[in-house]
Symmetry: C2
Subunit: 310 residues, 2 copies
């Protein structure tokens, strides 16, 4: 039987609601986007992906990143990142100032990458290398999201070896860490174990974050599997904000407060103020103007139901 | 890192949608209830809890169990059970005929049990013993659901030792197996490991089924944890049918097709025809007349997206 001792004592959550979560919503006002970042900052989430400097034509909901960022209340101790597609985006983020990290991105497979950015993976590696150079010049870190790492809805399945190859390539380009993303919810625990095992072998010193979507109901099980494999950093999105464009009506990103609720109950520290996180979930639902998928926000945390000393 | 070798090769699903799932819906027609049982039977689910012989005043949606059962298409090889609260219910089920098992029930805590049936747990044990006697007389098996085993919304938290005590007591009353239920979605993997470990120590020969609700998003992670602890039988509900009366709007039972989808992808056999299961999910949504929580039914199975040979 798996001992609880095999689980990490502490997990680092990176909140991606203001970026990955909002990008599939109708565009919100600059004030509402800034307000959401502020509410998340007050919850003490250790890392927040606040905005992205991408083309407003490609992703209208992410337009005016610099203005949103300038208006957002920030908290000391929180590490903020901006998603940037290339050198131009990276330079815009550095000019805006105040980010601790730039997040480049590419897909694990050519099919998905071409659909996303009209380039092969190899061509996108050059963009990631540019992002690294700009980050280095500004004295901040650079990481890279590898999306569609557990299956490509355009190009078929993605071998774990392919994910390790891409991680190895961006590591060679200088990134400090990778976020391996199950963008359309195709991961299951067995696949998580295989990918993590290969990454540990191929890029043992690269910081590893996993990014799950709950499109097919497996996100929380995937987190458990990943923690057992030694992974301690996960993306999550407040309220579960963010659907998949390929599967309307399905759940989106793994929900931050549902994840933190489970971790708290398992005695795994996150450093997050749970009550302030629930308030951020309320703000998220208010700014998007429709119900979100988060379940603890509806049912209440178990400790409220059984009593704080239960 | 957990090896996949530590997972079971095969898992037995017990479908509870027609009973636990429908009991919180507005009452359906006898024909629709029978139709759902038929659709599930055709999917080759190994066990189905088809009806319950409880008071129609207490649970209007479960009225006329004998008529529903008589009208339902059954499949050879499927083991059918009826939920029964006491001797009278057990006798009604035996008179209806054709069940392979009677399922008694009680809660783990007095608070919850009193709310459910107006008796203490000890008083309900006498009912379970009566159910065992009736089942023995009819030459069929008797099992017992222990509800609220991971937390009681009325009486506070429930110690794992208490669950083991109750399981031990109903084992002494002669049941062949227990279904330990997280009725209001308060279990997390750590709690699952503790309860399973205690049960293995106290009642090692008792057949063990776990029954999870996804009220706080942890049901699938709990199944993974339980499988790692050697549990191979789980309740699930088609489409995720069945909410919790204490938390309106939240997810109900663990969704059968989402669970089977994950197991298939992990190479764990269930003996279920997945396409027929998806058809049963469609029937479930049609008979209740509103969208259900199941996610694979919306997003499609991953193997359809990446290609059957992906």
């Amino acid at each position: 039987m798996p001992a609880e001792g095999s689980l990490p004592q502490r997990v680092t959550i990176r909140e991606v609601g203001p970026r990955d979560g909002l990008q599939s919503e109708r565009p919100l006002s600059l004030g509402d986007r800034a307000r959401l970042i502020g509410a998340l900052s007050r919850a003490g989430i250790p890392k927040i992906e606040a905005v992205s400097f991408v083309s407003p034509r490609a992703v209208p909901a992410m337009a005016n990143a610099a203005q949103v960022w300038a208006a957002a209340e920030r908290a000391p101790g929180v590490l903020y990142s901006a998603l940037v597609p290339n050198r131009r985006g990276a330079e815009a983020a550095v000019e805006a100032g105040g980010f601790h990290s730039l997040q480049g991105f590419l897909a694990a497979s050519d099919g998905y990458n071409t659909k996303n950015v009209g380039k092969t993976v190899q061509e996108s590696v050059a963009d990631v290398a540019d992002v690294v150079r700009v980050a280095r010049g500004a004295g901040i870190t650079a990481e890279c999201s590898i999306s569609g790492a557990f299956g490509d809805p355009y190009g078929g399945d993605v071998a774990p070896e392919r994910v390790a190859d891409v991680a190895s390539t961006v590591a060679a380009a200088g990134v400090d860490g990778v976020s391996v993303g199950d963008t359309t919810g195709m991961a299951t625990p067995s696949r998580v174990w295989r990918v993590v095992e290969l990454l540990r072998g191929r890029v043992p010193h690269l910081r590893l974050n996993l990014h799950f979507h709950d499109t097919r109901g497996t996100a929380m099980a995937n987190v458990l599997a990943a923690m057992q494999a030694g992974v301690t950093e996960f993306d999550a999105s407040i309220g579960g904000l963010g659907g998949s464009p390929f599967a309307p009506g399905t759940n989106g990103n793994l929900c931050t407060e549902d994840l933190v609720h489970m971790l708290v109950d398992m005695g795994i520290e996150t450093g997050i103020d749970f009550d302030a996180l629930m308030e951020a979930a309320r703000v998220a639902e208010e700014v998007v103007g429709h119900p979100l998928a988060g379940q603890v926000a509806k049912a209440g945390p178990r400790w409220d139901v059984v009593g704080r000393n239960g």
